[in-house]
């Protein structure tokens, strides 16, 4: 499990913690103590046995944002290739990311399979992999998500 995935787990668990409701009938003191210990252990270890969340409001960070956070400052207008790409890459929850990546591909994936230039082709190909990774995360397929991340990092390395 990568640091990024661990971070995502921790964010998810932190969110989940805030949603804990007191069950009925009320827990015994012993049960409460055990639950608290389990949660602390989970938070401290980033336990790999916990399944990836299917909650689309979970925290999200695109591979692009991990690699190039400086590009996300919003210098490009909405409705432009760069503006829409950077905006999708800057999404911080899965629900927003899914909506933006899908809109990006719907607006910029050429209908007749023709690109207008090199950056158009690069950004569309990158977006396809980002949304693939997002879907793997959503369906708890951590290994496939990680493989897709590696492909993106390799593309980035090839560009350097």
């Amino acid at each position: 499990m990568t640091c990024v995935q661990m971070r995502e787990h921790k964010r998810f668990k932190a969110k989940k913690q805030t949603r804990i409701r007191i069950p009925t009938p009320p827990m015994t003191n012993r049960t409460t103590m055990n639950l608290t210990i389990a949660l602390v252990v989970l938070l401290l270890t980033g336990c790999t046995s916990v399944e990836e969340s299917t909650d689309i409001t979970s925290a999200y960070r695109s591979v692009w944002a991990e690699l190039y956070p400086d590009t996300l400052a919003g210098q490009h207008a909405e409705g432009t290739l760069y503006g829409d790409f950077y905006s999708a890459a800057a999404s911080d929850t899965r629900i927003v990311a899914e909506r933006r990546w899908e809109k990006f591909l719907s607006d910029w994936m050429p209908g007749n399979a023709a690109f207008e230039d090199a950056s158009h082709a690069r950004f569309v190909n990158w977006a396809k992999l980002e949304i693939q990774r997002l879907r793997y995360l959503k369906h708890k397929n951590i290994a496939a998500a990680e493989t897709t991340s590696k492909r993106l990092r390799q593309i980035a390395a090839d560009m350097e």
Partner: protein
């Protein structure tokens, strides 16, 4: 008193200029322009076949071979709205210069250089057309169709790249055979000529220029052979799309837009592209 090496180089530059092969300064600095001029002159000498007395592919006064052809230069993007798969603008330089402005500027410089080079070679006649001369947009196939309508020999679409604000490189793209290119070999030769020339021109000013090479796996609408009018039986127009540099990288922005030599660099790149196109016209005459 014997002449210095620099004097000899100056004499050689002056000679090559008189012969119509060199247009740089007579300064004794032997760079890419001098090398290229010398190579062309050497090629010309080796092409002479005086013993056999066959046709000489040179003008009678012995200057550079006459060259003719029709060239269409396509400044990428333009205008304010997306038309036929063409966005008004894609990349933006680190200081805010739009790609569409830079493509038009470079296209006009290439046109000027082609006309100047052509007029300097007796018997030559190169016609140069731009797909747009102002801030307007055309669809991708409409751009290629300008080449078809003008019966162009060469079609070059000009673009500038962008990515993450730090990468560098020059690349030239052609359509692959699998994507319907009927004259990939000829397109590749044109692309390689322009790629090498652009890179050499940029390297004269910046050692960090990077060769990303000629790539043929892009599905580029502007290079569609159907729109260009090329068929398997008749494939006259050789075409490529150039990505001059990554303008969102500050060093490139300085090189091409904001630095003290920006105008000179843009002229050098334009001249290099023009010379490469002329070489291609000659090779395919």
């Amino acid at each position: 008193m014997s002449a210095s090496t620099k004097d000899i180089k100056k004499l050689a530059q002056a000679f090559l200029r008189d012969q119509g092969y060199y247009r740089g300064d007579i300064d004794g600095m032997w760079g890419t322009l001098s090398n290229r001029a010398f190579k062309r002159y050497s090629d010309y000498l080796s092409s002479l076949d005086l013993d056999i007395g066959g046709e000489r592919p040179v003008a009678e006064d012995g200057v550079a071979d006459a060259v003719s052809g029709i060239v269409v230069i396509d400044p990428g993007h333009g205008g304010n709205r997306k038309i036929g798969g063409s966005s008004p603008n894609n990349a933006t330089s680190a200081s805010g210069v739009l790609e569409k402005t830079m493509t038009l500027d470079l296209a006009k410089r290439v046109q000027k250089q082609l006309k100047a080079l052509s007029s300097g070679i007796p018997g030559s006649g190169i016609k140069v057309h731009l797909t747009r001369s102002g801030d307007t947009n055309l669809g991708l196939s409409d751009r290629a169709q300008v080449a078809a309508k003008k019966d162009a020999d060469v079609f070059v679409s000009i673009h500038f790249n962008g990515f993450n604000g730090s990468v560098r490189g020059t690349e030239t793209l052609i359509l692959s055979t699998e994507k319907g290119n009927v004259n990939e070999r000829e397109d590749r030769e044109l692309a390689q000529r322009i790629q090498s020339a652009m890179l050499a021109a940029i390297r004269r000013f910046d050692a960090n220029a990077r060769d990303r090479g000629v790539k043929n796996n892009r599905r580029l609408g502007v290079l569609s052979d159907i729109s260009l009018g090329n068929t398997r039986g008749e494939s006259k127009t050789r075409a490529c799309l150039i990505e001059v540099e990554f303008i969102d990288t500050p060093a490139v922005d300085e090189l091409l837009n904001t630095g003290p030599n920006a105008n000179e660099v843009r002229n050098a790149v334009a001249e290099a592209i023009a010379e490469a196109i002329i070489d291609d016209l000659r090779a395919n005459a």
